[in-house]
Chain length 418, copies 2
DNA sequence: CGACTTTCTTCGATTGGCGGAAAAACGAAC
DNA sequence: GTTCGTTTTTCCGCCAATCGAAGAAAGTCG
């Protein structure tokens, strides 16, 4: 009903960062000018929209340009990584106003992690950049999130977290809505709203770091599959005779290009007497390998190019199977840029059967270090844009538990709307 | 609006083949009883629903059971295969009332194929089974269908068809709506509506015959990807050191289990002096291999079990990447039944990282020989159920060209409804 | 300076769904 | 058998929300 059209208009206004007139809103939404006018006045009363300036006339009365009020609220996104917690304070455009990243042993220390997140959120709340009210808290977790039991992390990957009800605890601590989703899905959502996936209805985001995971955007929505684990590209086979993976198989993508494997490959080469500037680094990390590759080290470049080729096999299979318009590579390995991308693209081209697959774009995420934390923030943003009532009901009911999917059957009317 | 809710109710009634009362419709659809009553009376006036009988009371007034009128129209589905044309005459339930299959060199003879289809349609129209009016004609084609140029078949796979406007010509010939889609997508749709995918929102159908293709059902809708070629599982790599594929790569799934490969493997073994009942068959076909495997021939069983294992690798990758609730195997190879399925499931279990993947069901299509032709018919059925106006506008406008996707943004109101 | 355009608002009119009342048709209890 | 309660279905008035037409506002253009 009304709220649905209001949501459409709000989304249109949000998408037009440069501003949009009522007349253009009516055209884009396919609604009558009168309807748009009444809804816009509601949205302005709610401070979601505000008129920005008057654009030059196009032959008649000059249009009043409306802007989505990105300062109305702020959002906090938190990335729980394998070995760090990152936080990003964002406005409603998804722009990062402030961020931090702290080393922490997340998998093995749930209480400490919860405390750390609480402190970081408190810190963010009092930052001068935090304008308006806190709209919600988004958390990206390094494991699949099941739609059935959304507030339980995977006991298999994170046994220590098995009994922790993350969203509930953080809601209790912070008193705002808490949204939880898998990190790769968050990354995909970030790209969809503020990154390389803007305006693209079907793409896949691949995060390559400690693990390798993918998030699919299908018809503009995050796709979770049947039990919420779609995107486990890390354990698809890319080389049946490849390295042994922690999952027990051989040649999983993750076993070839996950940070553990990359570092292992470097160690093996060093042990084999290979000349490299990586030798002598005490605790070799993926960041070291990437940095030295960029600085020109031959071994590091080789390892990364190799990773690119392996990733290319997985991407080619993905393209054949799902045919996304674009594949966006993120995660720490993606900071290697062209060193990774060029061999990747080459492999994809070699393995692409269809010209349309060949034409599919493979790019590196433009969102940088905070990518996943931004994605966590966009969980809140997307939810609020899809259901504007979240903007006016600040406290109320329980933390939103599920990785909320917009209900697939849209139902007109229906009993008991708010 | 109204028509949308009418569509919801019609779909509910269709889905309840045993019949459903107005009160239950209201409950299931979340609409008020009064609204349901008015819409139902419209649908009954249009002869889409009819009251069937009165069910026993559940303590109050006994409910009038309504049934979707599956005899109101009939549908014709046509499968264009690599070497045959199959036709299925279906009622609105998707049940096959009559079918035929004719050998024909489809790829190299467009005019003859069009003529043949025309004759088959004419034959179907005068069958006694054809009740009511012809609702539409669905065509399953053995190549991807692009949303941009829906009425052009792939010039790469079917060069002879490059200039043929299939849907337009058939519309001209038959004067009914023509719907065209890829065969694997048709197969998936058939499973969704009348096969092993009923009630499952996310599954994948894999057709294994001459080629190997998949059709995805995502959130209850056929998923085509960006350029309409999603599901090209046949050219994902399952064994980097495997057989050479016609696409130039090695170890594509199709190169391992496509009918060409299966027959080739049989010939190789026979040439190698292997004892088998397949030896001596003049023109060995996939059907022969399947039949002899069922009859107990060791070589045939081996080849099929091998195909099952290879398919298992592809299915495992698919499960990891997309996490469908079920994978349905169809196509001629699937007639081998357990001989294919057992090794397939074993491979999947070995390669499944997540318990939910492990639990995913892999089954054989229950729809048999006419599966794809039924799928072509369900193209029409789905379109009409999604847009009831197709039921009352028999002739009118151009043939429906695109593999119609339900528009992703649902818009309330909007100008100019019918 | 008038004609024309484009934008935006105001004002009925219409559509369509909802809630409640009422009718219909039954079971159960006394 | 009468009465009461229940479930199904219909009828009626109300309300929300959109649209179209008309008009006001604020320009451009010749």
């Amino acid at each position: 009903m009304r709220s649905h059209n209001a949501s459409i208009l709000a989304n249109l206004a949000w998408a037009h960062a440069e501003g949009i007139s009522r007349a253009d809103l009516a055209r884009d939404a396919g609604l009558s000018a009168s309807t748009v006018s009444t809804i816009v006045s509601d949205l302005m009363a709610a401070d979601l929209l505000s008129s920005s300036h008057i654009a030059p006339s196009r032959g008649g009365r000059p249009p009043v340009v409306l802007r989505f009020n990105t300062q109305r609220n702020y959002i906090i996104g938190v990335e729980m990584g394998a070995s760090h917690v990152a936080i990003a304070l964002c406005d409603l455009r998804g722009a990062v106003l402030w961020s931090r990243s702290i080393h922490h042993d997340v998998p093995n220390d749930p209480p400490g992690t919860l405390r750390l997140i609480g402190e970081l959120v408190d810190e963010a709340k009092v930052r001068p950049e935090a304008q308006g009210e806190l709209l919600g808290l988004g958390i990206a977790v390094p494991c699949p999130v099941d739609g059935q039991t959304p507030d339980r992390l995977s006991p298999r990957l994170l046994p220590e977290w098995a009994e922790v009800r993350l969203a509930a605890q953080l809601h209790h601590r912070t008193d705002v809505r808490v949204f939880v989703d898998n990190d790769a899905n968050c990354g995909a959502l970030a790209e969809a709203l503020v990154g390389a996936g803007q305006g693209i209805s079907d793409f896949t985001f691949i995060k390559v770091a400690t693990g390798v995971g993918a998030g699919h955007i299908v018809q503009g929505q995050v796709y979770r599959g049947f039990s919420g684990i779609a995107g486990e590209i890390g354990h698809t086979t890319v080389d049946a005779n490849g390295r042994r993976c922690r999952c027990g198989l051989k040649g999983c993508l993750e076993a070839e290009i996950g940070s553990g494997s990359v570092i292992e490959q470097a160690h093996e080469a060093i042990a084999g007497g290979r000349e490299t500037s990586l030798a002598g680094i005490a605790e070799l990390t993926l960041a070291d390998v990437v940095a030295h590759a960029k600085a020109g080290d031959a071994l590091a470049r080789e390892i990364i190019a190799d990773a690119g080729s392996h990733l290319g096999v997985g991407v080619a299979n993905l393209l054949n199977l799902l045919n996304p318009a674009r594949v966006i590579i993120g995660g720490r390995l993606s900071h290697a840029g062209d060193l990774l991308l060029i061999p990747l693209r080459e492999t994809v081209r070699d393995r692409a059967l269809w010209s349309s697959v060949e034409r599919a774009e493979v790019v590196i995420s433009p969102l940088g270090q905070s990518q996943i934390a931004i994605g966590a923030a966009t969980l809140v943003l997307r939810a609020a844009l899809a259901d504007l009532s979240l903007f006016w009901a600040s406290e109320q009911d329980a933390p939103v538990p599920a990785p909320s999917q917009v209900s697939s059957i849209w139902r007109m009317g229906g009993r008991g709307r708010g």
